[in-house]
């Protein structure tokens, strides 16, 4: 006896729980891999999963096994030239001895000392942002009303054919048919009864004209009954959709970078990663994140991403030029009532001496009151200069919303990033 069962529609991911258990168990290993990946990867491929390797010995499931040594007898196939009594040199490494039949060949490929697997993009990013929380993630009030989502709202008599609610329409039609046919049926039944009565009478007493009249009446009624339409336009009901404004949160992130001659490509690479992490982070917390790239040397300019990261400039540095431009852009395009505003600035700390004070003024008076958060990273192994000192006073003024850190090499980025956005415990 045999029967076939089609299981294809059944749940997949039966192993999801076990997979999660595995990932939890090796959290520390995986995190290390993820951190390395964040530092190593180029910007364009941050948005994918990551291959993670864990040393096999760390995840092995030990059982009692024979070790190398002692006397082993191996039977192997494919003898070509050996005869009994031949002596052979041990194949490299000693003790390996042909490796036949011992303990079953590994199905994970031979000789791997790393257990490798792939994290999905979601899993990867979860590990990247594990334990981090976006500062001041407040939902701005109902944003511009053109951001709406259609929502089902009952049924209506008007609509487009694509949204016909068939069940409701047929129910309406059925009710209408019953209502419209009932009087006709009643009249028909009465006419038939009258006719039967008439025909039942003694032939002498029959009234032929009455019979003819009744027959005509019956015929007319039957036609009317048939003429009641099965479905009519006013039976139709449509699923009603209304547009509901959605409380959504939008964010804009300003990337401000110094591209003066003192910033080397190495500095820029580090800055790049910093921006990228912030962007990924915002993207996960807001439905919509816009990016604005502002680069500056002595003058600031809004550019596209390509130009921001990859073109070179030379010259001196006036930081306030960039901050002024950011201020203008906010005023023009991103009213703070509707947007969450973030600024991330990367620089090597150089600035015209006189300009640092301007920066502080600008931040304190104009920018900080409107921003959600301002992060500043200084990529330099050297001593701090005037800009850092001025920023410190700003930081003292806005301790919750202004963060600054120093980065020396690429490996520092991730810890700095974690530090900046560490989940704030309620104080």
């Amino acid at each position: 006896m045999t029967y076939f069962i089609d299981r294809r529609a059944n749940a997949k991911h039966k192993s999801a729980v076990n997979r999660q258990r595995f990932l939890d168990r090796y959290r520390t290993h995986i995190k290390r891999s993820v951190e390395e990946a964040v530092n190593r990867r180029s910007i364009t491929d941050m948005e994918r999963g990551e291959k993670v390797s864990i040393p096999t010995r760390d995840i092995s499931e030990p059982v009692f096994q024979h070790g190398p040594g002692g006397k082993r007898t191996i039977v192997a196939p494919g003898n070509k030239e050996f005869v009994e009594g031949d002596r052979l040199r041990r194949p490299g490494g000693g003790g390996g001895g042909g490796g036949a039949g011992e303990g079953g060949a590994s199905n994970q490929g031979e000789g791997m000392d790393e257990f490798a697997f792939t994290l999905s993009r979601e899993e990867f990013l979860d590990f990247v942002f594990d334990g981090l929380e976006l500062p001041h993630l407040e939902r701005k009030a109902l944003v511009d009303l053109d951001e709406v989502r259609p929502v089902r709202a009952g049924v209506s008599k008007e609509g487009v054919p694509a949204r016909i609610n068939i069940v409701r329409s047929m129910r309406e039609a059925y009710a209408r048919r019953i209502a419209m046919r009932a009087p006709i049926r009643r009249a028909l039944r009465e006419a038939r009864e009258a006719l039967a009565e008439e025909e039942h009478k003694d032939p002498v007493l029959r009234n032929p004209s009455r019979i003819a009249e009744l027959k005509a009446e019956i015929e007319r009624l039957e036609k009317r009954l048939e003429a009641v339409p099965f479905i009519d336009t006013y039976d139709l009901r449509y699923n009603n959709l209304i547009n509901q404004p959605q409380p959504s949160s939008k964010a804009v992130m300003f990337c401000v970078m110094d591209v003066s001659g003192s910033m080397t490509q190495g500095h820029k690479d580090i800055a790049k990663r910093f921006f990228l992490l912030l962007y990924l982070f915002l993207e996960r917390n807001y439905e919509k994140v816009e990016l604005v790239f502002v680069r500056h040397h002595t003058a600031a300019k809004e550019v596209d991403e390509e130009e921001f990261f990859y073109s070179r400039e030379t010259g001196g540095t006036i930081v306030s030029s960039a901050l002024t431009l950011v201020d203008e852009i906010i005023a023009k395009r991103y009213p703070p009532g509707q947007w969450n505003l973030y600024v991330a600035q990367a620089s090597d700390g150089d600035n015209w001496d006189d300009d640092s004070v301007n920066c502080r003024e600008l931040l304190m008076k104009s920018l900080m009151p409107r921003l959600q958060y301002f992060t500043y990273v200084e990529i330099t192994p050297h001593a701090h200069q005037a800009l850092w000192e001025e920023y410190e006073t700003v930081a003292a003024e806005f301790p919750d919303r202004f963060a600054m850190r120093q980065i020396v090499e690429a490996g520092d980025i991730y810890p700095v990033f974690r530090d900046l956005f560490r989940r704030r415990t309620a104080t």
Partner: protein, 518 residues
């Protein structure tokens, strides 16, 4: 030339076509006296196949990270195209569940049905090891019970506690089987009914064994060996257990001093499942050989009767050849002896020596040569395991065909020695050596419970009997650690030579920790 009326052509399949082929296979299987459990054939997707793989084919199982690891490994290998997924998976249950992957071609589906639903299925039902050790009708229920029980434990005692316990049990699961005693078959209902009862009973037993005040020591042993350190003979009682115990998990379940009742139950679950897989570990060559032999025979019959076309048959032969291919030892593809190849060769050879016996066959296999081949292969399938099967049926012809040779690797010699090749002097020795290679006792170190010090420090001592001076691998330490978790007191392991002298001692916790605490 017969007229071909194939049931279907091309590589697409449908349920109707599969059922039609199924009908034909039943008819042919009957003719060959293949006795099977009912078949439950499930069509599944690739993803589901990977799931099934990860849980060793068990349709339900308790949750454990190691299955997740297995899944990731399978998925990775599959993505890289390193491994085609095996196109079949069959579960020893009644009804016998076989999985077909939806993207298989028609030929593949028919092949899998022949291979799994008639080959493996009849093996599960007929082979003595499976008949003795597993109860196909209750395994699924038992798995469901196990999954529920473990899930309950996780709720009550936390995921981590259960996970650590399972880790420890898994490390010992190959030692969770009575090799020589016939076990009681597992049954889910029985388990649940008796579980409560057992918890209490077990605990009482353990309490008796470990009560702090020992019973009076028999006076004759007291007089017999006087020990200066122990003049009253308090430690001199009978060794416990009196006989070495090979079933470590069973011993732990019944005797570990500190385990809570639910922990004993989990140990039992792992032990019972290990018992279910025990026959499979010992019949790989036979099982795969038997299934390959029958898919080959049945597919050829379908072709002879004109039920499949030439394209189908060519595709089949290509696939079959790949499955039973044995690369030579010096090939890049060599990874040990292919059980499909060896098993298929031996079963085919039994058929050959029945139908066309040679002088050599009559001399080597007087009982089989020239007999009824169907009876002969069934006899072989029913009454052997890999070790004895090879010992009994590996013929000179198969040794010659596979060009088997035997190498002795002795770490006391500088060179390897070719001890035998496929010639008159070598046949018997190769047969002997190959059979031994499949003996479980040789593949896995022989380790037994030697003594539990119930009067002293409660330590547990295991004994490993070295096979041809082969020592234990380094994994012995982590396993000892797991054992220690279960036992709760120091565990020792003595690795002994053939002459009973102890070659090496292991212990956990490690001695330096111990000496520090003294």
């Amino acid at each position: 030339m017969i007229r071909r009326k194939p049931i279907a052509t091309g590589s697409d399949w449908s349920f109707e076509v599969l059922e039609a082929y199924e009908q034909e296979l039943v008819r042919l299987a009957d003719e060959y006296r293949l006795d099977t459990y009912p078949n439950q054939i499930e069509i599944i997707t690739t993803e589901q196949m990977m799931d099934a793989y990860a849980s060793v084919g068990m349709p339900v199982g308790y949750h454990h990270w190691s299955f997740g690891k297995q899944f990731l490994a399978v998925e990775q290998a599959y993505r890289r195209g390193q491994m085609g997924l095996a196109y079949e998976l069959v579960i020893n249950s009644d009804p016998c569940i076989a999985y077909l992957m939806e993207e298989n071609t028609l030929m593949m589906q028919v092949l899998v049905m022949a291979h799994a639903c008639y080959g493996h299925n009849s093996f599960f039902k007929g082979n003595y090891l499976f008949r003795t050790w597993t109860d196909a009708s209750s395994i699924i229920d038992y798995l469901v019970f196990a999954r529920k029980y473990v899930a309950e434990c996780e709720e009550r005692h936390g995921v981590t506690a259960v996970e650590q316990l399972l880790d420890a049990c898994h490390a010992l699961q190959n030692y969770g089987v009575d090799r020589y005693k016939r076990p009681s078959p597992i049954s889910a209902e029985e388990e649940m009914r008796r579980q409560k009862e057992r918890e209490e009973h077990l605990q009482a037993q353990v309490n008796t064994l470990w009560r702090t005040i020992p019973g009076p020591v028999a006076s004759d042993t007291l007089a017999a060996d006087q020990d200066e350190e122990d003049p009253l003979g308090l430690h001199g009682g009978e060794r416990y257990p009196p006989e070495p115990q090979e079933n470590l998990l069973y011993f732990i379940e019944k005797n570990a001093p500190l385990l809570a009742p639910w922990q004993r139950e989990v140990v039992r679950i792992v032990r019972k499942l290990a018992q279910y897989f025990y026959p499979q570990r010992q019949t790989q060559v036979m099982n795969e050989g038997w299934a390959s032999f029958w898919h080959y025979t049945l597919m050829n019959r379908l072709f002879d009767e004109g039920l499949v076309d030439e394209g189908f048959m060519l595709e089949f032969l290509q696939s079959h050849t790949a499955v039973v291919n044995q690369p030579p030892f010096d090939s890049a593809y060599f990874s040990g002896i292919n059980p499909y190849a060896l098993g298929f060769a031996i079963f085919s050879d039994i058929k050959r020596m029945c139908e066309a016996p040679t002088e050599e066959d009559r001399e080597w296999f007087p009982d089989t040569a020239g007999g009824d081949w169907i009876e002969a292969v069934h006899f072989a399938m029913r009454n052997f395991k890999d070790e004895s099967f090879i010992q009994q049926y590996l013929s000179p012809k198969v040794i010659r065909d596979l060009k088997l040779f035997m190498v002795v690797d002795d770490d006391q010699e500088e060179m390897l020695e070719v001890a035998a090749i496929h010639d008159d002097r070598g046949y018997r020795r190769i047969r002997e050596a190959l059979a031994t290679q499949y003996a479980l006792a040789v593949r896995e170190p022989n380790i037994q419970v030697y003594s539990a010090d119930i009067r002293g420090d409660r330590s547990l001592t295991l004994r490993h009997v070295q096979d041809s001076r082969r020592p234990l691998a380094r994994s012995v330490y982590p396993v000892m650690r797991h054992l220690h978790q279960l036992w709760g007191f120091p565990v020792r392991l003595e690795s002994t030579m053939d002459d009973d002298t102890v070659a090496r001692r292991y212990q956990w916790p490690l001695p330096e920790e111990e000496s520090r605490s003294h």
